[in-house]
């Protein structure tokens, strides 16, 4: 469905290939860090800086078991052969000579995980030696827990209410009481400004806003002025940047990629903005906007994708502070029959989950559960 393809390779690492050990007395402990470094060095040596740079985007050692010496390495589909050959050419990890052997390749981590489980079970059955309690605990700890994204579908939410909700969720996420969360919603007609308070980009007086049925809000997010309204899909990911391993820039780029992937479902060729024009564009027309706030490493605010909003509202602002470019929508860019908004929102959420490599997406359908709790705090 969505075109962000990876390959997961299950590799076995033979340490000091002359010997054959399981568990004790191994010369080097395999960790994600030392394996990842050894493989990257090999790519650099064999394929140069350019080769390394092109592989690095999706390269990730997902799982390492130092007891059975199995590891799962992720790479993008386009680069996986390069990564595979580099791994075969790895001569040593730390000071220990090693040989990598590929056991399985698959397109999703679940299949790879199943293959790994099978290999490990076979190994233990063959070795004829039980694992001590200590070793079992060690192993269970090393198994990566699947990354889950919790999605709340909230329908149309008043902007101030959504701000309060996000504040609450950010502190919950910071305290690790909730997993990475995503809010999928729309707003009634609302203009919002970012931290720089660029209200010179609002072209009608504030007093007139009520007459056109819109509100204005000042926020702490990055970015310039923008409009939110019905038929515009909004996603507010509340994620811990540290747990997903992104910095601010790579996070914003991933949000752009999510919208680009989504556009391609309808045959719309979108692209990321040039320097200083963050967002998603079709030609010279902006279809998706981004404005993010990161507080103590937790993200809030997020992205807004125009499905079929009333474009007249955009005439009252200089959108995102860029004067000579138009705003467009999915409706305007494709002749394809658009499905219901519910389906469209789901597709957008799926694209984001894929780009951010979530294993599981759990959808919470009862918005009153979190929206009503806000009343209590008032």
């Amino acid at each position: 469905m969505v075109g962000f393809k990876n390959r997961f390779m299950l590799m076995e690492v033979y340490l000091d290939p002359d010997k054959d050990l399981l568990g004790e007395g191994t010369p080097v402990i395999l960790t994600k860090l030392n394996l990842s470094e050894a493989i990257k060095d090999s790519i650099l040596v064999n394929f140069g800086e350019c080769g390394l740079a092109s592989c690095l985007g999706s390269f990730h050692v997902a799982y390492v078991n130092p007891v059975t010496k199995l590891c799962i390495v992720r790479s993008s589909r386009d680069e996986h052969r390069r990564v595979w050959s580099a791994m075969t050419l790895v001569r040593s990890v730390g000071n220990c000579p090693v040989v990598f052997n590929l056991l399985d390749i698959s397109g999703c981590i679940r299949a790879c995980r199943d293959a790994a489980l099978k290999c490990e079970t076979d190994k233990f059955n063959q070795s004829g030696k039980g694992l001590s309690e200590e070793e079992i605990r060690e192993m269970n700890r090393k198994m990566r827990t699947p990354r889950t994204l919790e999605v709340w579908k909230l329908g149309t939410v008043n902007y101030l209410k959504s701000l309060k909700l996000q504040d609450k969720l950010v502190s919950e996420r910071k305290a690790n009481r909730i997993p990475d969360t995503l809010l999928s919603l729309q707003h009634p007609p609302t203009y919002t400004l970012g931290k720089r308070r660029t209200d010179h980009n609002l072209l009608i007086p504030e007093a007139e806003l009520k007459s056109i049925g819109a509100e204005l809000h000042y926020t702490q997010r990055g970015g310039d002025i923008t409009f939110h309204g019905p038929h515009q899909a909004i996603l507010y990911p509340i994620l811990s940047l540290r747990s997903i391993g992104f910095g601010a820039r790579s996070y914003v780029e991933a949000l752009e990629r999510s919208m680009i992937e989504f556009s391609s479902l309808y045959g719309v060729k979108a692209r990321a903005g040039n320097k200083c024009e963050t967002g998603v564009w079709v030609g010279d027309r902006k279809i998706g906007a981004i404005g993010v706030r990161i507080s103590s490493g937790i993200t809030c605010h997020g992205l807004a994708f125009n499905i079929d909003p009333d474009m007249k509202y955009f005439e009252h602002i200089v959108p995102c502070g860029i004067a000579d470019k138009e705003v467009t929508s999915l409706r305007r860019e494709t002749d394809a029959q658009l499905p219901s908004e519910e389906v469209i929102h789901e597709q957008l959420v799926t694209c984001l989950a894929k780009v951010f490599s979530y294993d599981d997406v759990v959808v919470k359908e009862d918005p009153s559960a979190i929206l009503n709790t806000l009343e209590d705090d008032d």
Partner: protein, 166 residues
């Protein structure tokens, strides 16, 4: 775009070409896998801010690793002079690529000077994170807090582990 950035950082780290951006940094830096520089003589927080302690004044800014992960900074919000900052509490924010990120103070104290150049040239944080891109000067209220910060080698390892973990 990202590809070129990585390729040129790699080239720079391996000294294979002379790209201008990092050439003016002081000689004492360590090459790390994260390809950003870590300066000797400074202390670092795990939220990527640095502190330079000289007598009764501590200068604070964000590290090369941080500015690299942020992207081009377009706006900086700093506290007023005479306001106080607390360890691990936010004292300001930087905006880059449509994302505002909070900056946490590595130590507690009173703000005695603020870098006013950043209002007009926020890009100084990217081009010179340890020199011209300093953010605030603070009179530390509790010098012992500096002990709990990381030294350059520890910080380099910390960055490497953060980058390699994903």
């Amino acid at each position: 775009m990202a590809l070129r950035m990585w390729a040129s950082s790699t080239a720079n780290a391996l000294k294979l070409s002379s790209s201008a951006s990092k050439s003016h940094l002081l000689p004492a830096f360590s090459i790390s896998r994260c390809f950003s520089s870590v300066l000797e003589g400074l202390k670092y927080a795990n939220s990527h801010e640095w502190v330079k302690h000289e007598g009764s004044v501590a200068t604070i800014g964000i590290s090369d690793h941080a500015q690299d992960h942020l992207g081009e900074v377009v706006f900086v919000e700093l506290p007023e002079e005479k306001s106080s900052v607390s360890k691990e509490k936010n004292f300001g924010a930087v905006e880059s690529v449509k994302a505002t990120s909070e900056i946490l103070s590595p130590i507690s104290g009173e703000v005695i000077e603020v870098n006013t150049k950043l209002a007009d040239s926020p890009g100084l944080i990217n081009s010179s994170p340890y020199e011209e891109g300093w953010m605030i000067k603070v009179k530390p209220s509790n010098p012992a807090e500096l002990e709990s910060l990381m030294g350059p080698k520890e910080y380099t390892k910390f960055c490497e582990e953060e980058d390699a973990a994903h």
